[in-house]
């Protein structure tokens, strides 16, 4: 199984921390909390990967604004990830397709991960946090 994935040229992603983001911007603080956790870990020199899954993919959509009450959005943080050396941005393929989205709708270049590759991805990180 793993052999074939590697054979298809799939880059094996590994790191210290995988943060899984499953909530959309606004409406709850899940997304922001998850991103903050990733930034703290990166600030302390951990290698951090992000996996956008479920409604979490909406965080990557282009054209976002602040909330109705002037709350800061999360797109500024997404834009800033590179400054914290968080460059492994992964997107669950099913989450994108089922929302009628493609990688062209997103703010940043990402790597799309097929469902079958997810267990391996989780396995390659010492710590996995779910938000």
């Amino acid at each position: 199984m793993n052999e074939t994935e590697i054979a298809t040229g799939e880059r094996v992603t590994e790191g210290d921390l995988l943060v899984i983001l499953r909530h959309s911007p606004h409406g709850s603080s899940w997304l922001r909390e998850g991103l903050d956790t990733a930034l703290v870990a990166a600030a302390f020199g951990q290698r951090v990967s992000l996996l956008f899954s479920g409604d979490g993919v909406l965080a990557l959509l282009d054209g976002q604004q602040a909330g109705a009450l002037g709350q800061k959005g999360t797109h500024g943080v997404i834009d800033m990830l590179a400054m914290y050396d968080i460059e492994t941005l992964l997107v669950d393929a099913h989450a994108l397709i089922s929302r009628g989205l493609s990688t062209e709708d997103l703010l940043l270049p990402v790597s799309v991960v097929e469902g079958a590759a997810l267990p391996k991805l989780l396995d390659q990180h010492r710590l996995v946090l779910n938000f």
């Binding site: 930034l39 703290v40 600030a43 834009d79 400054m83 914290y84 050396d85």
Partner: protein, 117 residues
């Protein structure tokens, strides 16, 4: 984090600038170069051209990302804006001893960086 609690006032020219308990501006709109100089003077620092260029990098960072940077991204931002020679923690430690991210954010009129201990 930014605090809205007014702890004391710093006189700058004909202005009374409200500061929070840690000495950060309560209202970011109060910032001006004269305020930065008064904040620096409080700590016995004199701002040179090298300080000012880092303060500008900090203000640009906040304007773009709406967050004050921790040390690591500050080093990176300074490196991108001012060249690799200055994008080193040693350079920033020399300019802003103790804690460059925190001291720099205060002088630049930004909130205290969240991921900075």
């Amino acid at each position: 984090m930014a605090s809205s609690e007014i702890y004391r006032y710093l006189p700058v020219l004909d202005q009374e600038v409200a500061l929070d308990p840690e000495g950060f501006l309560v209202d970011m709109a109060d910032w001006s170069p004269a305020v930065a100089e008064a904040l620096a003077a409080e700590e016995g620092r004199i701002l040179t051209a090298e300080h000012w260029e880092v303060i500008q990098v900090l203000r640009d960072f906040y304007e773009r990302y709406e967050v004050a940077p921790a040390m690591r991204p500050l080093v990176k931002a300074v490196g991108l804006a001012l060249g690799a020679e200055k994008g080193k923690s040693l350079h920033l430690m020399r300019l802003f001893p103790d804690s460059p991210a925190k001291v720099g954010a205060r002088l630049a009129g930004l909130p205290k960086p969240a991921n900075c201990l």
